[in-house]
């Protein structure tokens, strides 16, 4: 169970981006979070993945409340999340080849021995040709790079996947391939998914349950905001 309990978060304490938001994802469940651009979805996704410390509220991962964020989170809790970001260019270290990129979490957690076995396997899962694996990020397309980023998110076999506008930059066929790869992994591992996006059609077809940003914000404020959104 991934529980976000009345989170308030942002980059300036006086003007939080996310106010009093609660959301629960059951194990193995896929939840789509829909919201307009700039509403705070990505901030919420970063808080959920323990990458950003909220001002108030609690994140509970599999029954254990998170006490630290970023490096202060215990490694086991951090690596329970696989995160895919919107912009593959910015989320890939430009100096690493795709193989190194995908293998980086294995090396960082002291499992370099698994690299030979896991990387080609994952490359096949996300549909990356072996000829691309030796290239650096600037030598491949956005779609190919996003496939590598997805492979990196899956390499530690996370229990939770957080896809923050994963397919916003990509064409329809790459989108379909990436979603299929995520679903294949989930079917095999039983991982839960929080997919953040603004594309209603995509999220409704992809996820078992979709929620609107407006429904999440604290009841009083949500009621005040919904008419304005329409």
């Amino acid at each position: 169970m991934l529980e976000l309990r009345s989170l308030t978060a942002g980059y300036d304490r006086r003007a939080p981006v996310v106010r009093d938001v609660s959301l629960t994802v059951a194990p193995g469940e896929s939840v789509g979070l829909l919201g307009p651009s700039g509403c705070g979805k990505s901030t919420l996704a970063r808080v959920a993945a323990l990458l950003h410390q909220p001002d108030r509220g609690q994140v509970v991962v599999d029954g254990e409340p998170a006490r630290g964020w970023r490096h202060r989170a215990p490694r086991a809790q951090r690596t329970a999340f696989g995160v895919v970001f919107q912009q593959p260019r910015l989320s890939a270290d430009p100096r690493l080849t795709l193989t190194q990129l995908i293998a980086e979490p294995l090396r960082a957690t002291g499992r370099a021995a698994d690299v030979q076995e896991r990387v080609p396997d994952l490359a096949r899962t996300v549909g990356l040709g072996t000829d691309l694996l030796g290239r650096r990020p600037h030598e491949v397309s956005d779609g190919q790079l996003q496939r590598a980023c997805l492979a990196r998110a899956l390499v530690l076999r996370p229990r939770w996947l957080i896809c923050d506008e994963m397919t916003a930059m990509l064409d329809a066929s790459t989108t379909a391939a990436l979603v299929a790869a995520v679903e294949e992994y989930r079917a095999e591992s039983g991982a839960g998914l929080l997919a953040v996006g603004h594309d209603r059609v995509l999220l409704e077809r992809w996820c078992e349950r979709t929620v609107e940003w407006g429904e999440l914000v604290g009841a009083a404020q949500g009621a005040a905001e919904r008419p304005a959104a329409k």
Partner: protein
Amino acid sequence: MAETRTTAGAGTTADTGTVWRPVAGRSVAGSRKASRSTRAWRVWSSAAIVVAVVLAVLIVPPLADLDEQAVHLADKLLPPSLEHPFGTDDVGRDLLLRCVYGLRVSLLVGVVAAVVATVIGTAVGALAASAGGWVDRVVMRLVDVFSSVPHLLLGIFIVAMFRPGVWPVVISVALTHWLSTARIVRAEVLSLRSRPYVDAAISGGASRWRVTVRHLLPGVLPQAGLAAVLMVPHAIWHESALSFLGLGLPTHQASLGTLVQGARSSLLAGDWWPTLFPGLFIIVPTLAIAGLAGAWRDRINPRRRSELML
């Protein structure tokens, strides 16, 4: 493309301040070609001088078994001639030989001090930026305090604690010059640290140390390397200044600073060569090194890189 060219001239004046201005300015064919050829000329002449200087200081002393300390009082203060192309000083030592040996010492001091200063600066800057919080604040305020004292004064204070020699000068220059590198590296690391790939690394279980060493430091190495090369001429000037003041190398040992210092008395008597040639040996190689560093900076300029990506 054709349209861009015709509007380029107007664009540079009318659209001043817009994002596209630099690109439009660069498409003015004539000025671009001219600036590129002068730039190439500058780079190649700098490279030629640096190569010549490095070869001279590396090859001449071991190969030519000459004694730059040999005193010939009968030949004192000879003007430049075929036998002594730079002339001789006031105790009859060959100035060309002493300049080459002096440059050897000055280059050694410059390079070692610049490398040491860059290593210290990079370590401190990276530590401050990746630790953040109060560590960052305390370290950077210390950097501010050290920068508020003039470098030369601090350097004099440090050399005064040791016997005159090459290594006290290296220590003095290195310990006073890591401050700017620390600032540059800290700023770079701070900007890299907010990239999503650092988030991805954290989520992939990377420790603070691993993020710094694997993702952040390689990103600042070009900047740190450039800072090191730009510091070499500066360190040479500092060495010369300390030696000129009599605080650096012992006076009998040839360095560019001691040569200029020793030549002061003969300059008043109208003998110009003992001052001119060591002076040129300070100016020309340091300008050449700075020229190469400038070309390198043009290459790694992030703005240019982002233009190429557009």
